[in-house]
Amino acid sequence: MVDSLLWARGLDKQFRSGTEPVPVLTDLSLHLERGESLALTGRSGSGKSTLLNILCGLEMPDAGVVQVLGETFDSGKPDAMNKAEARWGNLRRHQIGVVFQEANLMPALSLLDNVRLRARLAGHNENDCQDWLERLGIGELSDRYPDQVSGGQRQRAALAMVFAMKPTLILADEPTGSLDHHTAEAVIGQLFELQARHGCGLVLATHDPELAIRCSQHMDLGHQPGT
């Protein structure tokens, strides 16, 4: 388990609705090896996005331990957590690619400049950025701005950004949720293909059961205790 790409144990997270505590994640555990994919399903509000945010350090769990690429984050050890932000930042910058349902691009930059920015932040050169856009079928749109292309093309650009940073782990939060069926199929096909080719891990939050079946692991957060 120590060599796993990603594992988590005993994760708890609750929010408050007024004065009432609302548990979202209770004693949740998971693990993922390199090259594997994990589908997170569940109804809206079941905690899929919250779990993804915890797995990339954008939110802290109330309890539990997360280990990503050998870096351990134990919410029970506040001293270690003090430096957690910098360690998480380093991981997200170089190793973890995050894709949201929408608004993944900087609106003031062209598609190519968005990809270049992400590559440079990860410490890579910009040479293959245009290639990534070509591979995702939007090479001719590289000079366009996000508001000048369709939603599907924006999501492909978001994938190009993720792959340009050469990630070890990809966290995708309903990346095709706002796309029509055909476009969604094309985009998700490219995501799986590239994930398999580069051997990185993938955690995918989705409502689509068919999509979940295509992943090597499946976790239904709707069956979480307390949900």
């Binding site: 945010n53 910098a86 930042g89 349902q101 900087m106 930059l109 920015l117 932040l121 996000p146 924006r154």
Partner: protein, 756 residues
């Protein structure tokens, strides 16, 4: 939920936006009402003064002596309908004018409501002449005898002549020019406040546009939505304008006395009555401004058709800017100068955000670092999206730069001028009906005074400039002194011939003040024909000297050239006693003149008093401009904060992509500070240019005298620091948002990257 409730629900979710809009309307109304109130009071006072004496003329003695009660009796006995006008001036009561209500019948029905004698002068009612005569026993007074405009000079007994009558010195068109200046300041304040109100309103509107689109999809006609929006802003305006007017009047009342003194200092006559003004005008104006500023979007399709291609608009604006500068340099009428000012302000204000945006895009194109490229692109977006509050801040900064430079220059110039004029340590008033010659002889004989001190005699009176054909021209003040020595030879001169003071010492010419030179087109070296007493003398103009703060034309001559029949209005001795004691000098003069009392004034005390009065005036000017600046800075702060909030997601993306919050905050700070610094930089040339326009073009035309053009880089630095503070404050407020999980953009256009 009803439709109005659905529309208004935005402000239930964002109460701060409603508060900001309301506060902006209140503050804008306060600022404009304050300026308008002061301006309208000054205008009313000037018009009242003019109407009280419009079409009047007076009877004067041909021998130059002042008219007396005996003259009045003589003229009445000859059947002339003459009205006495007794003006009493004292430091305690100011100016009191006594008129004879019975004699006022000379000018028509005295009981008519519109008769000026039933009104007020300088905010004070006219008094009966018997009351004024009572006051005249203790105070300085001057009697004039007024006759109607229909009176013919041929009916006058010999020894009398007709002359125009004025309440104060002839200010020419200066009064109107000054009021035009105040109106221009009011318009500028109105423009800035309109920009601020519009910018805050547009911000809320941008966030509500998706809700409007949704309601439209639900079947609500756009026209109905627009109507409800108009009603909403009208109700809000009505609620906020009234307290704004009240605050503005309170502000004007508080600053009124300083303002009044400023006018008095400039025109030698009270121009500020300090009465209550109406509420209707500010209410109607501000309501119109708020409605136009907020609802101009409804005219957007028309504006877009008119504006056309953006590149063409940019070129057109540059042309307007150049034309405005050219008109300002060459125009000679004040109205055209203000038109030119407006052209430059409008074009520079519209071009400034475009320029920042294009420069940022240019930098982004050259950047090799993608993060800098993003920052510059983001700066370009912000410059365009925050154009209105940025331009308001730019205008406010330019105005503050110009007014500060003007006021500081005036302060230092006035101090120097005062020091020149009050070079002697004391001045001694020469009592009436004494032989000045005896005193002059005694002073000349004092070897100790000659070796260690300085003195000269000052004679004041009036002279008439004569035309080339010998026809009488304007009456000017005479400032005669002698001996011409070091008390005056250090004066700064604008223009002079060779060794002007030496020539004046020898009585070989005269000097003229700037006001007279400007009005009559007098230059150094030309010959001037002047009637002093009964003699017409030809003098070369030796120099033109500065004479700030008064409109009257004046000639400076050596007292030795005054003819024996010249009647002095006032005489004094300026004395720096050196090793002698001023007390000993005054005692000796009392003995020579055989008087018991002698008025000896300490010039340092006078200088301090004059400076204190002007200081109070400057506080008013600075307070108004500082208030405008603060308002503009707060508006940009609010707009910047709210607009940055809509971009919070993109800063959050940087955190998602691995930047620490500190690094993302640093990007945010650089962006905010770049934006505010850029607008401060662009305000600088506009401010310097406005200073030049005020000093070299508007001030001479409006007031008749010019100031040296001085710039104060310390102000620039202070404004730079202010712009940094606004930028840092925006960044500080935004940092708090970065600490909380950011939500993805709400609006559909933002999701698609439409806010580029």
């Amino acid at each position: 939920m009803t439709l109005p409730a659905a529309l208004f629900s935005h402000y239930r979710r964002h109460p701060l936006q409603l508060l900001a809009l309301g506060a902006m309307i209140v503050l804008a109304t306060m600022l404009w009402t304050g300026v308008h109130h002061l301006t309208s009071q000054a205008r009313a006072s000037l018009e009242q003064s003019e109407s009280a004496v419009a079409g009047r003329q007076q009877v004067k003695r041909k021998d130059g002596e002042r008219v007396t009660v005996e003259d009045f009796v003589k003229l009445r006995r000859r059947g002339l309908c003459v009205m006495p006008w007794l003006e009493v001036t004292s430091p305690e009561t100011g100016r009191v004018v006594g008129v004879d209500p019975l004699a006022a019948g000379c000018f028509g029905n005295p009981d008519r409501e519109e008769s000026p004698w039933r009104g007020e002068l300088d905010g004070r009612p006219f008094v009966d002449i018997s009351d004024a005569a009572e006051l005249a026993r203790r105070q300085r007074s001057e009697l004039s005898l007024l006759v109607s405009d229909a009176q013919d000079a041929g009916d006058l007994p010999s020894g009398y002549q007709l002359a125009p009558f004025r309440v104060g010195p002839d200010t020419g068109e200066l009064g109107d020019s000054f009021l035009l200046n105040l109106d221009a300041l009011g318009v500028l304040v109105l423009l800035i406040t309109a920009l601020l109100v519009r910018s805050v309103y547009l911000l809320g509107l941008a966030q509500r546009r998706d809700s409007f689109a949704l309601l439209h999809r639900f079947g609500v006609p756009r026209r109905r939505i627009n109507r409800l929006l108009a009603i909403e802003i009208m109700v809000l305006a009505l609620v906020c304008i009234m307290p704004g007017i009240w605050l503005g009047r309170w502000l004007a009342t508080g600053l009124g006395s300083g303002f009044g003194r400023a006018l008095e200092g400039l025109f030698d006559q009270p121009l500020y009555a300090g009465r209550d003004g109406g509420w209707l005008m500010p209410l109607a104006t501000m309501l119109a401004v708020v409605l136009v500023a907020c609802l101009a979007d409804l005219l957007r399709p028309l504006a877009q058709r008119l504006s056309g291609d953006a590149r063409w608009v940019g070129g057109f604006l540059v042309l307007v800017l150049m034309a405005g500068i050219a008109v300002l340099i060459w125009a000679s009428a004040l109205v055209w100068l203000f038109v030119a000012l407006a052209m430059v302000f409008v074009s520079a204000g519209t071009l400034a955000p475009m320029l920042i945006s294009r420069l940022a895009d240019g930098w982004a194109g050259r950047d090799t670092d993608p993060l800098s490229r993003w920052r510059h692109r983001e700066l370009s977006v912000l410059a365009r999206r925050l154009a209105l509050p940025l331009v308001a801040l730019q205008f406010a900064m330019a105005m503050v730069l110009a007014v500060q430079a003007l006021v500081t220059t005036f302060e230092s110039t006035f101090d120097r001028w005062l020091a020149q004029r009050l070079e002697a340590e004391y001045y001694i008033e020469v009592p009436e009906a004494v032989d000045t010659g005896l005193a002059l002889d005694w002073l000349s004989e004092q070897s100790e005074l000659a070796s260690s001190g300085l003195w000269h005699r000052v004679v004041r009176g009036e002279a008439t400039l004569m035309g080339a054909a010998g026809e009488p021209g304007p009456v000017v003040d005479v400032f005669a002194l002698g001996p011409v020595g070091p008390l005056v030879t250090g004066w700064q001169l604008f223009e002079s011939t060779a060794q002007p003071w030496r020539a004046l010492q020898q009585g070989q010419g005269l000097m003229v003040n700037e006001q007279l030179a400007r009005r009559q087109g007098v230059t150094a070296g030309q010959l001037l024909k002047v009637k002093l007493g009964s003699q017409v003398l030809n003098f070369p103009v030796l120099a033109i000297y500065p004479d700030y703060g008064r409109p009257a034309g004046e000639i400076l001559v050596n007292a030795a050239v005054l003819p024996p029949d010249f009647i002095p209005g006032f005489q004094s001795l300026s004395v720096s006693p050196g090793t002698l004691d001023i007390e000993a000098i005054s005692q000796q003069l009392k003995q020579i003149w055989r008087v018991e009392e002698l008025t000896v004034r300490d010039n340092r005390a006078i200088a301090e008093l004059a400076s204190a009065i002007f200081d109070q005036t400057f506080v008013f000017t600075r307070a108004m401009t500082a208030l405008t600046l603060i308002l503009a800075a707060i508006a940009l702060l609010m707009m910047g904060w709210v607009f940055f909030s809509t971009r919070a997601w993109y800063f959050r993306l940087l955190v998602v992509w691995g930047l620490s919050r500190r690094q993302a905050s640093a990007q945010l700070t650089r962006l905010a500070v770049s934006l505010t610094s850029a607008i401060a930089l662009l305000a600088l040339p506009l401010g310097v240019w406005l200073t030049w326009a005020l000093v070299h073009r508007i001030n001479p035309l409006a007031f008749g005298w010019s100031l040296p053009m001085v710039v104060y880089p310390r102000f620039w630095l202070e404004l730079g620091v202010l712009s940094l503070l606004v930028g840092l404050s925006i960044a500080l407020l935004m940092r708090r948002q970065l600490k909380t999980p950011a939500l993805a953009p709400e609006s559909t256009s933002a999701l698609a990257g439409g806010e580029r």
